[in-house]
């Protein structure tokens, strides 16, 4: 009887130990999985989400930068139009020959209209003209160019004055006078000799500006 009771108590003890062991082992598995696998993965995901949020903020900033760049490009296009518009009266030059043929032709027509004649010493010269190229092309600080033309004529003062006025107020060209020497007729006549240097402002290659 005593042995039976003792055996019963021993069985229970072993059983309880087994149950506790099962509890410990069975509890350890999910807890171990939770702390060992789930928690690091969750931390990794949260870090990734934080990184994604940061990247989304960066993306918004980048989109805003893109808008700014588009704005800059739009400003550039508007300025391009304005430059083209303001340069309408600038001439198309021939940089190699240092000539502005259209302007020269226009000035020759004007000279003829205002009765500007060749200087006496140039009248025998083959192909001499009242307006001819000066062989110089100057550059302005921001890339504008101007080509030199020379006007040498014998004319009455009033005729030459009207020629200069019309030349300076031409709508299709911008002509800047550099110097003028007017020498009176030593014999008291009305014809004077005029030597004038002008520069014709040339149109830019707008597409190449700032590139």
């Amino acid at each position: 009887m005593a042995k039976g009771a003792g055996s019963s108590g021993g069985d229970w003890t072993a059983g309880i130990v087994a149950i506790v062991a099962a509890l410990l082992l069975g509890g350890a598995l999910p807890i171990g999985l939770y702390f060992g696998l789930y928690m690091p993965k969750e931390k990794e995901r949260l870090d990734a989400v934080k990184k994604l949020d940061q990247l989304n903020i960066d993306m918004e900033m980048m989109l805003a930068r893109g808008e700014r760049v588009r704005g800059l490009e739009e400003d550039g296009s508007q300025m391009e139009e304005r430059v083209k518009e303001i340069e309408t009266p600038f001439a198309l030059g021939d940089a190699e020959k240092l000539d502005v043929p259209d302007v020269r032709a226009t000035l020759l027509r004007l000279a003829e209209k205002h009765q500007l004649a060749l200087r006496p010493e140039r009248q025998q010269q083959l192909g001499a003209e009242v307006v001819f190229t000066g062989g110089d092309r100057i550059t302005f600080e921001k890339g504008l160019h101007a080509t030199k033309l020379q006007i040498e004529a014998k004319a009455r003062f009033h005729d030459f004055g009207r020629f200069v006025t019309e030349m300076e107020t031409l709508e299709q060209f911008v002509i800047i006078p550099e110097s003028l020497v007017c020498t009176g007729d030593a014999n008291g006549g009305n014809d004077h000799v005029f030597i004038m240097v002008v520069y014709v402002v040339e149109r830019r290659d707008v597409d190449a500006i700032g590139r």
């Binding site: 019963s8 099962a22 069975g26 598995l29 696998l37 990247l55 993306m59 760049v69 550099e178 020497v181």
Partner: protein, 229 residues
């Protein structure tokens, strides 16, 4: 009796083992369920992390592409816009501030002393070398030419003036004439005059009646207004 007890003990033992077994199985079952639940959570995190990482990779890739594109476009757009603005400003300055000679020529014709006749035999208008500086050498010389072209002009005229009566009166009138030559151009400072009395020509021999005196007039350097003639 003894056998009966033995049978009872065996039954109890079996029951104990059954209870213990069932307890252990239940515990292990619950542990398994919990483990599966934790595993499912882990799986969910894994899939979400994978999705997030894919999104990160996508956004990062777009960002890198956009950055590379904007790093090229932004300085280029800024440089072009600024260059175009500078070009436009220069165009405006050239169109507005360019010098005109016609007002000077018109003034030379328009203004005469009231009581004297005079003739110009030489008129010269040229860039003011002292004011604009001479064309130097090197890189600056290219720009110096343009600066000189857009800069001030000097006017020098010489001729003969017919003086009747007082020198002082005529000289004062000559000064008035030069001051009137201030149409489009603003004369800077006082103009200078020279009457070469030693070279004067006396037509009739009467020095007080009428004589022709060579003169030189140097209008001071000029600056240009922003108005078209």
């Amino acid at each position: 009796m003894f056998e009966l007890n033995l049978i009872k003990d065996k039954a109890k033992a079996r029951q104990r083992r059954r209870v213990i077994f069932l307890s252990i199985v239940s515990i292990l079952f619950l542990a398994g369920l919990l483990s599966i639940f934790v595993g499912s959570l882990f799986w969910r995190e894994t899939t979400e992390l994978k999705k997030t990482n894919e999104q990160i990779a996508g956004v990062d890739n777009s960002l890198k592409t956009m950055k590379a594109d904007l790093d090229v476009r932004e300085p280029a757009a800024r440089k072009r816009r600024n260059a175009l603005i500078e070009a436009w400003r220069e165009d405006v300055a050239v169109r507005q501030d360019r010098p005109y000679f016609s007002p000077i020529i018109r003034d030379i014709v328009s203004y005469h002393p009231a009581s004297a006749r005079f003739w110009y035999n030489q008129i010269s208008i040229s860039t003011n070398v002292e004011g604009g500086g001479p064309r130097g050498t090197g890189t600056d010389s290219e720009l110096a030419a343009a600066k000189s072209l857009m800069g001030t002009r000097g006017l020098e005229a010489s001729g003969y003036i017919q003086i009747e009566g007082s020198d002082i009166l005529t000289e004062s009138e000559l000064r008035t004439v030069a001051k009137q030559m201030d149409g489009m151009l603003k004369l800077v400072g006082e103009p200078k005059y020279t009457l070469d009395v030693s070279s004067e020509i006396i037509p009739g021999g009467d020095s007080e009646a009428s004589r022709y005196v060579p003169f030189t007039m140097r209008a001071a350097q000029t600056q240009f207004t922003r108005e078209a003639p």
